[in-house]
Subunit: 214 residues, 2 copies
């Protein structure tokens, strides 16, 4: 994606690109792609809202999360309108294994829990952004435009989550505690490896965040 700075940054962050087979499968499963995309936007808003319940002591985080949730909801509305225009029925479908698997190893004690959730959220946003870019080049004009328009805001969400994870880690540990800062980097690396594993390994169902199609 030369020329789109957001994507360069995302591609440097993630450890692998989406396999070509997934992109080909997406073209053949537009209905599922769009329905699951609507679900992902809704889920992203819920994740932000859940954090807003638990972490009321960080006003800056609250404001950013709320703004981010509003943007995800706006995208949800756009996908629902596309579904309606294309006469695609919005059916209930199961979630991908992706987000659940990523979250399995979130630490259970604070502040590790919050930091890990923010890292995982950053990775999910980054992966979504990378997939939007991949899809842009192969889908019809309406969807290419739409996914292009989402790139920037999802890239911004990635940064919001990662910057807050860093800030909270530093506030909690003290800037001078090099050991803890290394530990932050190792958490990011750990979850990035998990993302890579889930994206590259075979998956039984096709979804927006699924792995290599069977």
């Amino acid at each position: 994606m030369p020329g789109i700075p957001e994507s360069l940054e995302i591609n440097q962050f993630l450890l692998c690109k989406t396999p070509h087979e997934w992109i080909a499968c997406a073209k053949d499963n537009l209905d599922i792609l769009l329905i699951d995309h609507a679900n992902c936007e809704k889920k992203a808003a819920s994740t932000a809202l859940n954090l807003m319940y638990r972490y009321v002591h960080y006003p800056d985080l609250l404001l950013q999360l709320s703004k981010l949730a509003r943007e995800e909801l706006r995208h949800f509305e756009q996908v629902v309108s596309i579904l309606a225009r294309r006469n695609i029925a919005y059916e209930q479908i199961s979630s991908a294994r992706y987000a659940g698997e990523l979250r399995k190893n979130v630490r259970t004690h604070e502040p590790g829990r919050l930091i890990d959730i923010l890292i995982v959220s950053a990775i999910v946003e980054a992966r979504s952004c990378e997939r939007f870019e991949g899809l842009m080049h192969v889908l019809d004009a309406e969807l290419a435009d739409f996914y292009g328009s989402l790139l920037k805001s999802e890239a911004r969400h990635f940064k919001v989550y990662l910057d807050f994870a860093k800030t909270i880690n530093e506030t909690m540990q003290g800037d001078s505690d090099t050991k803890q800062l290394e530990s932050f980097d190792s958490r990011v690396s750990y979850f990035l490896e998990e993302d890579k594993r889930l994206i590259q390994s075979q998956d039984t169902v096709f979804r927006f965040h699924s792995g290599r199609p069977e």
Copy 2:
């Protein structure tokens, strides 16, 4: 509230006004009022989002709920900013009994469940609107302006919820089934009586939707 058409409609709908004692108590408990107001906006966004998970087959409802959730989140951000400007720490506080009690008698089978949740949501919005109006006249200029600005959108939310409840009831039962339509009105009356009971009876804790202070 002469001259504000939204409030006239709300006051005709609700069975009672907020007791003067609650308004007086609110003036003396601004911190709790604002923190609980922030919680209520967050809760309103969650309620809309929860409905968006369950009722994916109604595209118009999905779009309206998502827009409504975005507005609630915008209000949440405004309250959080007011808290920050006033150096009020956003502490975790318990919820009022109000919404939980109202929801206790929501029917458990569809479509009754959805219709009842929409009716309860309409009543909560209407009650919030009525309280904003009561508060407008007794609080400082910044808060009076703020609560005045919220009146219109909360009144609109009240209508969105009630209109959807009516539409879904009619779609499910058929327009000609007078018995079922009467039953809809009786559900509205039932929940309005519950609202009246909760607002007029004594409450042990002061909250945005609490009853008569002890």
